[in-house]
């Protein structure tokens, strides 16, 4: 997409939705046309730089880069990404079962763990500071808690462990392996 492209983003949105890569978004990025407004995950905003000139041209009704709504692509529709859809995509727990079904083995190491963590905390998680937890510890709006740590492990293949304590959804560890 060039800087001279005056196409309204709302007009190309179907194309973007159909093939994010064509419109300059990486496959799997998150965005939404929400009641006529476009909300883009701030983490994705830099990637969307090619669209900025269009936005600056006032062609769009409303833009927000501060919105915390993350959207997942599901069968052509764009729905808010919930904790349930993050932890149980397609109804099954993420990753592969490890030593127990509450221990999930995840690929991708540190980068994958950081990306996954960003998704978990994107809907209003708040840091918990009065804890001895050796890592980053946050409370979710639903009362659940999650922690991100690279310490307290004796698994040589584990780069990061994300602890998840969300009753009625998932209580266990996500071990991101190197």
């Amino acid at each position: 997409m060039s800087n001279t492209d005056k196409t309204r983003l709302v007009d190309i949105l179907p194309q973007v939705q159909e093939n994010p890569a064509v419109a300059g978004f990486p496959e799997g990025c998150m965005f939404v046309n929400y009641q006529g407004s476009l909300y883009i995950n701030p983490a994705v905003w830099q990637i969307a730089g090619g669209l900025a000139p269009i936005m600056a041209g006032g062609e769009l009704p409303e833009i927000s880069t501060g919105g915390s709504s993350l959207i997942s692509r599901t069968r052509g529709n764009y729905l808010p990404e919930t904790l349930d859809s993050i932890l149980r995509p397609n109804g099954s727990l993420v990753g592969k079962p490890g030593s127990d079904f509450n221990i999930r083995e995840m690929p991708g190491g540190l980068k994958a763990a950081q990306d996954y963590w960003d998704r978990l905390v994107s809907n209003g998680a708040k840091p918990i500071n009065n804890s001895t937890y050796n890592g980053t510890f946050m409370e979710l709006p639903n009362g659940g808690t999650i922690g991100f740590r690279t310490h307290m492990t004796n698994s040589p293949n584990t780069a990061v462990t994300i602890d998840v304590h969300i009753p009625n959804l998932f209580q266990g560890k996500l071990k991101f392996n190197k």
Partner: protein, 108 residues
Amino acid sequence: MINNFQEIIRRAVAIIEDDFTELWLIVVVIEEENPGLDFDNLIEVTKKVVRELATNHQITLVDEKTEKSLELSVDEIVNAVERRLKELGKIPNIGDGIWFTSNKNKRS
């Protein structure tokens, strides 16, 4: 009365032998096998589980600063768990401490 005691032990041993494990996750396993336990009974069941783990499965505690296993007696381990649960006065969560490890894969 503890439901599925052997299953709790089997699962706890597998989890702890795999990696350092904080108390909250062992309590999750106990609750999954014993839904609806009140807190007082949860303490008692947790003590029995930890005693079995320490007595027959080489499970001990980890020093959170050095990340080394601690040489403690079974009673010391059980007492540490009981003391922490009573200090908390609630079901333990992430960050509430008491980490377990297995001496089977003790680091040198």
